[in-house]
Symmetry: C2
Subunit: 178 residues, 2 copies
């Protein structure tokens, strides 16, 4: 392979556009930056809720819902089920959309579903230190990885006895920053 | 400015990854490709629904909801309101999430809100040939730009008299391909 230079991008408005973009100074390639989609789920087995303790940064060692970046050419629901399998070896069925959050600082959209385990066997995937099934009152609230994990768990609990409910969004005034 | 070469990318699995990515053969820059987020709204004024006739490809000349790609550092709701303003000079208020669709072929997530005009004045923005307010029965069903426009309009109509409702997803068996 030929010796490679380091990537060299500048921040400018391309011709015919009206916003600053990342443009390669060597070849003019425009690296459009778009918000990213995180898909995940509040997964239950009876009254218990599945949580994963993160083996990777950011927030390594903290507890989170199974969730991650949606990949190309999958549906959001398929992506949420894939993440549950990758992080907790959990086989789940999606019941419905719990919430659509936005974290503007991170340019992230989070689609969090309500789901249930279709097989009680779970175990830590490579991105998890451990996984567990928690009663709501036993959730380690002080050791949750991200604000949106707390939002999803509390909103889930508000409607856990309802078959259908409107999808939640960010709690009032909350932007997802720590 | 120095003379620029054309961008030159190859499709390979970068070190430490497990998926094919677009990698620049000159400098090694990895152009991660992620699903893109479209935000839009079914916007009403009384019983009438706002539609825009597209001035741009794809589907130029066909009718659509005000919608477009979410930008960095905005919330999904703010993006939907921005698109209504850009495409129809429409000032809207978001009432709630109508639907979260996925179009896997296009790797697109579409977040479509229910909203209402807060000012009856509308006019075509630069990406619209014309804009109009339609009674449901007068919607030009044979001239809609995309399958998801039809989904959103029919699902909207199913719950138009309800204050709250669960968010919709793709209709059963529909992937959004024409």
């Amino acid at each position: 392979m030929a010796e490679q230079k380091e990537p060299s991008f500048e921040h400018r408005v391309p011709e015919g556009d009206n916003r600053l973009r990342q443009v390669c100074t060597d070849c003019g390639f425009i690296a459009y930056e778009n918000p990213k989609v995180v898909v995940g789920a509040v997964v239950t087995l009876g009254d218990k809720i599945l949580l994963c303790r993160r083996a990777i940064q950011p927030r390594k060692g903290y507890w989170t819902l199974p969730a991650g970046f949606m990949e190309l050419h999958e549906s959001a629901e398929t992506g949420a089920a894939r993440e549950a399998f990758e992080e907790a070896n959990a086989r789940i069925e999606i019941d419905g959309l719990l919430a659509a959050y936005t974290i503007p600082r991170l340019s992230q959209v989070q689609l969090i579903y309500r789901a249930h385990l279709i097989d009680p066997q779970i175990s830590a995937g490579t991105e998890s230190l451990e996984v567990g099934l928690f009663d709501y009152v036993d959730i380690p609230w002080d050791e949750l990885a991200f604000p949106s994990v707390r939002w999803a768990l509390t909103q889930f609990n508000d409607v856990r006895d309802r078959k259908t409910f409107p999808a939640f969004t960010n709690p009032p005034g909350e932007s997802g920053d720590h």
